[in-house]
Amino acid sequence: MEGNFERTLIDGLNTWARTNSPWAIHYNSGSCNGCDIEILATLTPRYDIERLGIKLQGSPRHADVLICTGPVSRQSRDRLVRIYEQMPDPKFVVAVGSCAISGGAFRGLYNIMGGIDEVIPVNVFIPGCPPRPEAIIYGVVQLLETLKK
């Protein structure tokens, strides 16, 4: 009985911490870097995603959310999987840009495997080429909303 209570308490605490301050890591698996500069723009004063407690982190081992941009190229596929596997559970993936959804403009090129979900599971897709910073923030907030439930 007591063990159960403790578990719920810890789970609740974890969810609270995770939804209030998720740490993110960013990986570009072959994008045109249009999406990357927009992600960077969300961190800067006009959009300032840090006010939602979101922090961009250097190491996959510290991260809760993996923000992916670009289609998956054959070269970076293994890296992407490796980064995903290095992240501690529970982990979430946000795919930013049309490329990350389906390959976008690059779909069908010989070195492109397709969207991020060909390789790793994705929680949130954010469409646009590139999505506006507002759209990226909205997408991340959607992810946090689903986590609260």
């Binding site: 570009n28 698996s29 072959g30 045109c32 927009e38 006009r46 090129l109």
Partner: protein, 394 residues
């Protein structure tokens, strides 16, 4: 042999392809002796997508949207180079107003790119305040680009035969207002980068490259101009609006990181001056002309000065509605060698700034290369090469 033994005692620091400093994938290996870097190698290719090949199965108009996505930062430059080349092949000249608008968007893009770079460079040096300042001010130029073309990045301002967006009076006055603000901010940045002791300490005499070295390695763009190389396609081989609106080349003699910073900040003023001049004397008339669907046979080389240096396209047409071959050479690939040459002898902690100092763009640099040994040299006809390529990637 002795060298090999020595190399064994040294430590190799691998960085990337996922790393906190740069936002694009690239892998570096620095051989260090204590704190000092004694060797540096780079491994590129994570963002290789196969755009050149992809252009061959798209028609000319579709190809333009693909090359625009070679790099998100200089997307306008790539589309412009492609459009200029295709127009030259088809014997079409875009109207003067279109050429002036191409210049206008190109210079706005240069401002956005240089400010982005200044922020990243400051960030690498641990100067995050400047990073936040530049990126906040950069939003001004992003707003202007969005107002003019409809998108913040990948604007697609070009169409074959002209441009798609016109500059109306309200837009022009907004742009002028934005320029006033940016000029004032650029003056502030110039003041900071040339007087702030911390920033000077990280950049002065770091990664110095002499003019001779720059010539030998083939440095281009601001990296070369910081070593006193007076090279700028906008002046040496004017294209689009630059024929009527000449620029003044900005050079520095220092050759170090400080000089590279100064060149870029001073180019902001030059771009602002040019934008004002263009808006003042914008030629009237049409903004595009009709372009044939099929482009006549022939080959051209199209050159344009991107924020990072010269972009070169070799374009070949066989008379159909699709290009026969597109070869893209971007500036970052030329400047990589300068980092590898200047890195030796510096501290490992200087590496992020040195790397960022050339304003590297990985999505531009990632080509696939086949190395053929000299003794099994082989000649292939165009057809055979093409068949080989198709078979290889099947």
């Amino acid at each position: 042999m002795e060298e090999q033994v020595q190399a064994k005692n040294k430590f190799v620091v691998p960085i990337g392809p996922q790393h906190p400093a740069l936002k694009e994938p690239g892998h570096f290996e620095f051989t260090v002796d204590g704190e000092i870097v004694v060797g540096a190698t780079v491994r590129l290719g994570y963002a290789h997508r196969g755009i050149e090949k992809g252009c061959e199965d798209r028609n000319w108009a579709q190809g333009m949207y693909l090359v625009e996505r070679v790099c998100g930062i200089c997307s306008h430059i790539h589309a412009m180079t492609f459009a200029l080349g295709a127009e030259k092949l088809a014997n079409v000249t875009a109207p003067p107003r279109a050429q002036a608008i191409r210049l206008l968007v190109g210079e706005l893009e240069r401002i956005h790119s240089h400010m982005l770079w200044l922020g990243v460079q400051a960030h690498e040096g641990g100067f995050d305040t400047l990073f936040m300042y530049t990126w906040r001010d950069r939003e001004t130029v992003m707003d202007l680009l969005e107002m003019l073309t409809g998108n913040r990045v990948n604007y697609s301002a070009n169409v074959l035969g002209g441009v798609k967006c016109d500059v109306t009076d309200p837009i022009a006055s907004e742009i002028l207002k934005g320029m006033d603000f940016l000029e004032q901010r650029a003056r502030y940045y110039l003041d900071i980068v040339s007087t702030d002791e911390t920033f000077l300490g990280r950049t002065r005499d770091v990664g110095t490259m002499t003019k001779e070295q720059a010539l030998r390695i083939g440095a281009i763009g601001p990296t070369g101009r910081a070593s006193g190389l007076e090279r700028d396609v906008r002046l040496n081989a004017p294209y689009a609006g630059y024929v009527d609106f000449p620029i003044k080349v900005v050079t520095e003699q220092g050759g170090d990181l400080l000089a590279r910073t100064l060149v870029r900040v001073k180019e902001l003023f030059e771009s602002i001056r040019l934008i004002r001049e263009v808006l003042d004397k914008l030629p009237p008339g049409e903004i595009s002309v009709r372009m044939p669907r099929r482009v006549p046979e022939g080959a051209v080389v199209s050159r344009v000065e991107a924020p990072r240096g010269e972009v070169l396209y070799y374009m070949k047409s066989a008379g159909s509605d699709k290009p026969e071959r597109i070869k893209i050479r971007t500036p970052s690939i030329c400047n990589w060698a300068t980092v590898m040459a200047t890195a030796v002898g510096h501290k490992l902690a200087d590496m992020p700034m040195l790397l960022a100092g050339i304003d590297p763009c990985f999505s531009c640099s990632d080509r696939s290369v086949k190395i053929v040994r000299r003794d099994d040299e082989q000649y292939m006809t165009w057809e055979a090469l093409r068949q080989y390529g198709n078979g290889f990637y099947r």
